[in-house]
């Protein structure tokens, strides 16, 4: 694989896996990568942890940046929240995240 590119598996709401190649040197977050891959992620607030439309479940054991207070606050207003819930717009892509697996949360 190219340098500064990682593979991410995103399971959509129908249970179908999509393997996405994502650049790690362009300051993209996971919401933006899903959106640009035409996955059904709205990203209404543009990635400011203000809408929860990018809610996902992290299904691999990767060590991610800790959620900020803003993110936790927004998750309070979301539904179907589990222990592995995150807002994908708050996860920045780094080379350590190769083979990350996430699942899109249902929309209510």
């Amino acid at each position: 694989m190219e340098e500064n590119t990682i593979n991410i598996t995103v399971t959509d709401r129908e249970g179908i896996d999509h393997i996405i190649e994502a650049p790690t040197d362009m300051n993209f977050n996971l919401m933006e990568i899903c959106k640009s891959s035409e996955l059904p992620v709205e990203g209404t607030c543009g990635g400011m942890a203000l809408c929860a439309s990018c809610h996902c479940y992290v299904q691999s054991e990767h060590k991610l940046n800790e959620p900020s207070d803003d993110e936790l606050d927004m998750l309070d207003q979301a539904f179907f929240v589990e222990d592995n819930s995150r807002l994908s717009c708050q996860i920045y892509l780094t080379n350590d995240l190769n083979k990350l697996k996430i699942k899109l949360a249902p929309v209510s």
Binding site: L50, Q77, F79
Partner: protein, 335 residues
Amino acid sequence: MIETDILIIGAGPVGLFTVFEAGLLKLKCHIVDVLPQVGGQLTEIYPKKPIYDIPGYPSILAADLVDNLMEQIAPFKPSFTLGEVAQSISKEPDGKFLLTTNKNKKIKTSVIAIAGGLGCFEPRKPPIKGIEDFEEESIVYMVKDPEQFRDKEILIAGGGDSALDWTIELANVAKKITLVHRRTSFRGALDSVEKVHHLATKGVIDLITEAQAVDLKGTNTLSHVVIKHKEKGLIDIPVDYFIPLFGLTPKLGPIADWGLNLNRSAIAVDTLDYSTNVEGIYAIGDINEYEGKLKLILCGFHEATLMVQSAFKRIYPDQKLSFKYTTVSGVSGFE
């Protein structure tokens, strides 16, 4: 009945600025918005965030931009119907439109400008199966009349300011309050968090954290909210009312049924004048869709400006419109 030249649906930045551009052409505007306040997304989602791409403002707080717009349009004396949904439209014999709100207010207008943004802000509803069955009688998404809960048993769910504030406010009114929240910590003003903890320690309210409402029970009226606690599992809580407070989210809403050409949840327009497929109805701002569309405030302002020119020609087909700079004409408001 209210009568106007342009009825604007949505009091977001684009709807507000439309009043200014229309006013320059001596057209009167009335604005309807479901929210109790003006400003759309700027007020509801990000009032304290600075915006950096409003021409002429290197940085401006969203709430300040809304205040400025209100000041700018004041000379044109727009009228407002706030807290109501623009529900349905019909055509009058004289070719004008009649808009009816969800509270049955009627507004007669020559032109409709839909500046509905991402849609009508509605309370987020918990995805509990069968919740609709209890909505009319026992579920309250927005508290309007605290007296409704006098001597009743209620369950409030949520962790933000409104959940905390209503818990405090209703503590003296309701017979019993249970506040349920998914986490142990609350967001919202520190002062309110302390008050709620104090009420819980004194036994005035039941505070249950690390729990979520998952089911509703009752025949005809609600009898129990079932919550799922992280450790204790399912617990039935007897209630008269369930008050889920999870903020607001925009949904396209009734506009979807008005016979307009939609493209996903946006209204297709002709970029010549932002008209829709229904003559006399325009769509501007975040709600419209055309090739190359960008959902930006600045673009919405441009759309509004061109749109009112076309609206003028529709309303006064025989009058000639002469273009004037505001530096030349000044801003002469309405009496």
